[in-house]
């Protein structure tokens, strides 16, 4: 369980360039939840996930992971490493080893996993991201962009984190690569029942796989609720520089044109059923 209590963060405190990135943020994420974290650029998403994973210390406030305060001692944060996996934006830029194998093994080695277990972990992580074992002995720099991204994610998964945080994992990928990555994350969540936080500014991505959404704006939490609840108020989201998924917009337009459809739909399959229902209903009359 992740508890964030009154967390604030100020960049360049005491200089003319002072910026308040997080302003008294509090929320709780339960075990095994799948959360989408959305907000426009500069809303404080990345700062928040850096703090949750213990890499950045908040200016004030507390973060408890399974009742351990990670904002306090250094030793505690080190023990937590591996428990929280953070996949940064463009994670392929952190690859550095001679071979893919060594790169994926870097994390587990650092957190003290015995050598005998590392081999299994590397192979399992590689399988999870959908790559074949042929590439294990290649240099990570000769892979394609999408493959590099997946190797980098495998480098985090090999630490077997209980909480997985992904910062814009689909940025810069083509639609095929995007669906592939999102699908793998969804599988991972249901197979291992880990907690997942997906940072994104794409409503489409979030609507596709998340259960609940945290909407951030100017360093504050604007909304934290289930998907349908959040997308219902599309006006407020638009005012904060965000949009609802296209399909939700379509349903809302249909309703305003007088069709008797639900307007809290955010998945294409649900929309299809709803529209078919109306069409069939029309035939019956």
């Amino acid at each position: 369980m992740i508890e964030v209590k009154n967390v604030s963060y100020v960049y360049s405190a005491g200089t003319p360039f002072e910026v308040k990135a997080l302003d008294d943020v509090s929320f709780t994420i339960g075990e095994g939840e799948f959360i989408g974290l959305i907000g426009h650029t500069g809303s404080g998403k990345s700062t928040l996930v850096n703090i949750i994973s213990g890499i950045v210390k908040p200016t004030s406030g507390q973060v408890l992971i399974d009742n351990i305060d990670i904002t306090n001692q250094k030793s505690v944060t080190r023990a937590l490493k591996g428990k929280i996996g953070l996949v940064f934006q463009y994670p392929e830029y952190q690859l550095f080893e001679e071979t893919v194998y060594k790169d994926i093994a870097f994390g587990p080695k650092n957190i003290g996993v015995p050598d005998s277990e590392i081999d299994d972990r590397v192979k399992e992580a590689l399988k999870t991201v959908g790559l074949s074992e042929d590439i294990l002995n290649k240099s990570p720099f000769e892979l394609s962009g999408g493959q590099k991204r997946r190797v980098a994610i495998a480098g985090i998964l090999s630490m077997k984190p209980k909480i997985l945080i992904l910062d814009e994992p689909t940025a810069g990928l083509d639609p095929g690569g995007r669906d592939e990555i999102l699908g793998r994350i969804k599988e991972l969540h249901s197979d291992y029942s880990i907690t997942v936080i997906l940072v994104s500014h794409s409503m489409e991505d979030v609507a596709k796989i998340c259960e609940k959404v945290i909407v951030m704006s100017q360093g504050k939490i604007l909304k934290y609720s289930y998907l349908d609840e959040v997308f219902k108020d599309s006006e407020e989201l638009r005012e904060n520089g965000l949009s609802v998924p296209e399909i939700t917009t379509i349903m809302q337009k249909l309703k305003s044109l007088g069709l008797d459809v639900r307007d809290d739909i955010f998945r294409i399959e649900d929309a299809k059923e709803e529209i078919l229902k109306i069409l069939k209903g029309g035939e019956d009359q």
């Binding site: 940064f88 830029y93 550095f96 870097f106 650092n110 720099f141 480098g155 985090i156 630490m159």
Partner: protein, 269 residues
């Protein structure tokens, strides 16, 4: 993360900001020569008053000048200590046990060295604080132009400097990002022996270099795409021009030079 005060530019509209970069560069060079010509305390007093006037009129907070000084503090201390102990002269104190001697001229030279380094750094900081890197290299390019006759690639040197300066903050940011990403994978940069810590830098340096080459490639293509082909026949968007601020600058340069020469001749302190 990184505190790069030397070479940082503070935008502003003071009389020093408005001066032509060529005036400022020539002035700084003259200033450096003068600092090493001074051989008495009266001369340093003149320079002190002058640099104080520059700091005040630049309207850059004084604390930034001192921040720059902090970075060369160790160098200053070493230089002062060496001068203090190694200058021959009339011995006025001998360290017990070690037998090192301090002479009257040792004290004098140590103080001179401290003053020189301090004034040197403050003076050059005043230049970079008030001149944006682009304007600065424009000025340098102009001043180097006569040397292109003897094969000095003035434009290319200036362009390389502009690019290098432009990428300092980018790489500082990138280093920070990579460091965070690797520490999220359990990398430890703070504990262990020097050798272990040096090895721990590999996961930061490799991605940083790969990124640098990628950026260099991208930049080269972007420049080619906009038909960049070196300095030949190239004109500037912003033409450099002298203004009344430069006349003040030149006048004060003449005054300070005269004052220092007078001090050197007449002052025996």
């Amino acid at each position: 993360m990184m505190d790069i005060t030397i070479g940082q530019f503070f935008p502003g509209d003071s009389i020093i900001h408005r001066m032509d970069p060529r005036t400022k560069i020539l002035f700084t060079m003259l200033y450096m020569i003068v600092i090493f010509l001074v051989n008495n305390f009266a001369g340093f007093a003149v320079i002190f008053l002058f640099i104080l006037a520059v700091i005040v009129s630049s309207r850059v907070p004084v604390k930034y000048y001192f921040k720059g000084l902090k970075t060369i503090l160790i160098l200053m201390l070493f230089t002062a200590l060496f001068n203090l102990f190694l200058t021959p002269g009339n011995t006025i104190y001998t360290l017990p046990y070690l037998g090192w001697t301090i002479s009257d001229s040792g004290i004098r030279f140590a103080a001179f060295m401290l003053f020189r380094l301090t004034f040197l750094l403050i003076g050059t900081s005043a230049l970079t604080f008030t001149t944006s890197p682009v304007v600065l290299t424009d000025g340098l390019e102009y001043l180097m132009r006569p040397f292109s006759k003897i094969g000095v690639p003035a434009h290319e040197i200036a362009m390389m400097m502009t690019i290098a300066l432009r990428f300092i903050p980018t790489f500082a940011e990138e280093t920070d990002r990579i460091k965070k990403a690797q520490s999220a994978r359990g990398a430890d940069f703070e504990s262990g022996s020097i050798l272990k810590r040096a090895k721990a830098m590999v996961p930061i340096l490799v991605p940083l270099f790969v990124g640098a080459f990628r950026r260099a490639d991208d930049l080269a293509i972007a420049m080619e795409a906009r038909c960049y082909r070196g300095g030949e026949g190239r004109t500037s968007l912003k033409q450099l021009s002298f203004s009344y601020a430069d006349i003040y600058g030149l006048a004060s340069a003449a005054i300070i030079l005269t004052a220092v020469i007078i001090c050197n001749i007449y002052s025996h302190f």
